[in-house]
Each structure stands twice: as C-alpha cells, then as structure tokens.
Amino acid sequence: MSMPTTTETSTLPKNFHDAVVRWKDTYLSDFDFLIENWDQHFPNEPQLELCAYREKGMCDRIECGEQVGDPKFLRAGDLDAKRGHQLLGAIRAQASTEFGSIQQHRLTLARAPDEQDQMWVLRMMAEELRHGYQMLHLLLDDDWSSVSELSSADMVEEILSMTTGSHVLGAFNIDFDSFVDNVVFCALIDRVGKYQLAMQKQSAYLPMAESMPQMLREEAFHLATGVVPMRKWVTQAAAGEVYVTLGSLQKAINKWLPRGLEMFGDERGGGTNVRLGLKPQKNREAQELYYKEVAKVVADLNMRYLRARLPDLSLAQAKKTLARIVEGGEVVGGIAPERLLRAPHAHFFRRRGEPAFEMVGVDGEEFTDVDEYSRHLSQHLPESYLASRDFRSFLELLRQVDVGDVAAAEASRQAPSLRRVGGTCPCSKSVRWVVEATAPAVI
C-alpha cells in the first residue's frame, strides 16, 4: 500500500521497540513466516513494517462538541483533567484490544482449513500488532503525567503484560474455540474497531486523529478477512459440505455479536466524549449503525447461500425468493427461514449496557424463567463455548439478578474478569479473578 505523501513514519525508542518485538516473538511467532512468504501470498504488495504512521494535513480544529472550531490539542499536558482521563482510557483500551486480539487469534490459527484464509488472518494479526504499536507510540510520544500517576513506560508494560482474560474489553477475554471464531471475530468485532477508529479520526487530540487513517485502511482488509471466508463457507454449505455449516456460523454470530454491541459502551452514554470533542457520535447512535451494517452482512450471506442452492434463479427471482423466505416465512426450494442466518436481537445475551441481564432470546422473545433462558442460550451458542468460564460466570450473575440479590447495573459492574491487579511490581504480574468496584472503561 502506498502511503499518502503527507504520512510521517516513526518507531518507538529502541527499548520499547525491542519489547514489542519480544512480545511478537511470544504471541505472534508466525510473524517471520509471514514476512518470509509475503511475496508468495501478497505479490507486489508492500511488506508490513513495524512502525507508527501519522497522517499530516488533517483538520486541526475541534470537529464536534462544546469547543467545536477551537484548535485541536497537540500535547496531553494541554488537556483538562476530564478530557485527558477519557482520552487516556481510550488509548489504553485501544492498545489492549489490538494486542488482545492477537492472543485470541493465535489459539486457533493453525486450524484454518484453507491456506489463503490462514495467511489473511496471519497478515491481519501482524497489522493488529502494528495498531498496538501505534497506540504505544501515542503513550510514549507525549507526557501523560498530568493525567496519570503511571509513567508512560509503566502503562506500556501493563499493556504488554495483559493476556486473554485481563484485557480491558470483554470481547478480548473470550477464548476462540475454532477457526470459525477467527473469521467471525474479524467480521463482527473488527467492525466495531472500524467504527471506533472512524470516530477517533475526529478526536480533539490531534496525534490521536493523525494515527487513525492508516489504521482504518488496514482495518478495511481485516473485515474482508472475516466476510470473504464466510461467503465462501455459506457457498460450500449450500453444496452440502459439512465442514462449516450455517448452524455453526449462526452460533458463532450469536456468541460474538452481543460482545460487539457492548464494545460501544452503555447505550445511554457517550455524551461526555461528544461534548469533549473526542468522538462525534454517542454510543447508541454508533451502535445502531453497526447493528444495521451487520444485518446487511447477514442478508448478503443469505443471498450468497440462496443463489448457490438455487443457481437457476435470475437476480430478480433470487431477490423475490429471499424475501418470501425471510419476510414471508415461506419454505422455498427446500430452504426454510430457520435455515438462513440472522443477526440475533440486539438485547440477546447481554451483560452490559441498557439491556444487561434482560432475558431476551435471539428473536427478541422475552423469558421470565432463568432455567428456560439457560436452555435457550445453550441451543443458540456454540457447544464449546458453553463449557467456558465466561458463560458460567454470566449464568451465575443472571441467577443473582433474577432473584433480586443483585441489580442488573451492579451485576454488570461485578461481572468478573481476569485482570492483572496491582502495579508494575514483577510480583504482581499474575492474573487473577477480580471484581471491580467501578465499571471498566468503555471506549
């Protein structure tokens, strides 16, 4: 990818760059394999470099909020406490997600059924490493002492010490069970990333805004890394192949979409970020656009499946047939509505936000009995996920909410996560279950 003429490239100070390289050797040991085989899989495409990019010439006036039109902030020390705190939380959360996703993807990368899909995911992981590097650059290129008691070096160490279970956002603390997770995660969770990056491109803190364009370019490919294999899999499923069925894809969508929706933060929030000029949209507004986009991805997958199953249909006939099945509930050509994919209801299986711990089914149906809801979940989530600590924790909290021992809002805050606790002392590096006193930062 050619860089815009206005892009500046830089690297971290050597000790931090080396720390990222060591992290890469631990969690992304296939990085060198990717580089060695780059030309075979991505011929004539510029090879990835571990560096930070800043795009110059971007809007230098605050683009939203109470100070719209004022000059953007160039240094962290110029930020007021509230804005600085919000921004620093967003940078650390973003960094955490970038490194966290690599730790998730690595678990099942080797199980990819197709070499191209595997290399695409591997490249995506390497680019996520660069995104994490970009966020560390923001932490190290400025003085955050007016906002945080932790030094930049300590913040970097904290981020590089996180492992699956200790990351800031829930979606990055859930283990992958198969390569289907790699792909569906790219299609759904990276899509949230696209929204966050697009919003942060307008940040009142100019270095943040300047960091976004290249990340957004790379993120566009990450979404394709999810959607293109899904399109291939539904086609293969239509031909009767049994490797990745529509059923298993649906369950993976049900597993990840609720977590993706929660990554936008509570539906009622986000106003502070807008007022402070850090993002142009409140949480609900961005989340609704995201959900609509996911619905389009699902509709396109259904069309791909239908046309593979009924190849003699013209385009117009295929559209009518899909509408009869999805909207009319008819069975056409042996395809029943329940065979096709759908985006689960936005309140399904939620543990954070406005509908947290409401017992809402995939189609929006409401449950009043926890056991019945548990059975519903078990029918609609991947079997391997049901055995996870994450799911068990959800059900235990749900039962407490149901009997009135804990309010839903409190349960959201109490949702335990594996976190690194303590400071930067080497003896505190172990990760353990903790219950937070306050809600985790949401970006």
Binding site: M1, S2, M3, P4, T5, T6, F42, N44, E45, W120, R123, P213, R217, A220, F221, L223, A224, G226, V227, V228, R231, K232, T235, K292, E293, K296, V297, A299, D300, M303, R304, R307, L315
Partner: protein, 148 residues
Amino acid sequence: MVAREDIRIRSLSEIDIGDIVEIDEKIGGEYRPQVWERRIGYYLRRDPEVSVVAVEGDRVLGFMLGEVRSGEFGLEEPAGWVEVLGVDPDCQGRSIGRALGEAMLLRMKKRGAATVRTLVEEPMEDLGRFFVSLGFSPAPLVAYVREL
C-alpha cells in the same frame, strides 16, 4: 464527500461485495461472486481509500476500483491506475461515473500520483468519451497482445 442529489461517495468496503456483484450481473448478465470477492479483497489489501463507491442510502449505485502503484512498464514514479468502473444500469444518466472518477482522481493525487492511466478497448467509445470528459487524453501507447 457529497455528489449529485443524495448520492454519497465513500471508500470501498467489504460490505459492498454483494451490491457490486449485483451491478456486474446487471451489466454483463453473469453472476460472478467469486470474481468480485477476490478482486475486492485485493483492492482492500492494496488501498481501500483510493477505490470508491457511490451510495444512496444503503444502496451502492456504482463503483470505481483502482490503485496507485510504481514500477509499471518501467515507470518508477507512482501512477494511478483506474481499472474497473461499473454503474447500476438503472441509475445511469445521473453523473455517478463522473462523481466516482473525480473522487478517485483526488484520492490518487493525495496518494502521490502525478499521472493517472487507464486502458479502454477501442469499441467502447462511450467509455473513452467518459474518460476524456474527466480530463484524460489518449496516450501515445499501443497495447500488444498475443494469444498463447
């Protein structure tokens, strides 16, 4: 960037695959999803900002795919290459192709391209006129082909 009427030009995205497959089928009469999955995957890897789509609401009305690259035919300086253009036949006459072309040229310039090139088959006079209207002129270059 706002174009004609309520048409918006934005960067290519993977969610456009289905709509582009549909436009291609309307133009050429053939359903070729794999072709577009591969090609759009390529452009998204190369440079998703240079390739553009025209949308009205959620619907893609047209697309233009291309990239900036160096080293073609011994030309070392970065040059833009316009490679594919498609407009929904139901939406032709709304200057969608022109809006796409103008947007792509701007994006290529930002990418450092000093020139932009494309190839048009001789019988496609309309397409040739379209590029001339965008400021292109015939290049002193003859394409040679041999069947193998």
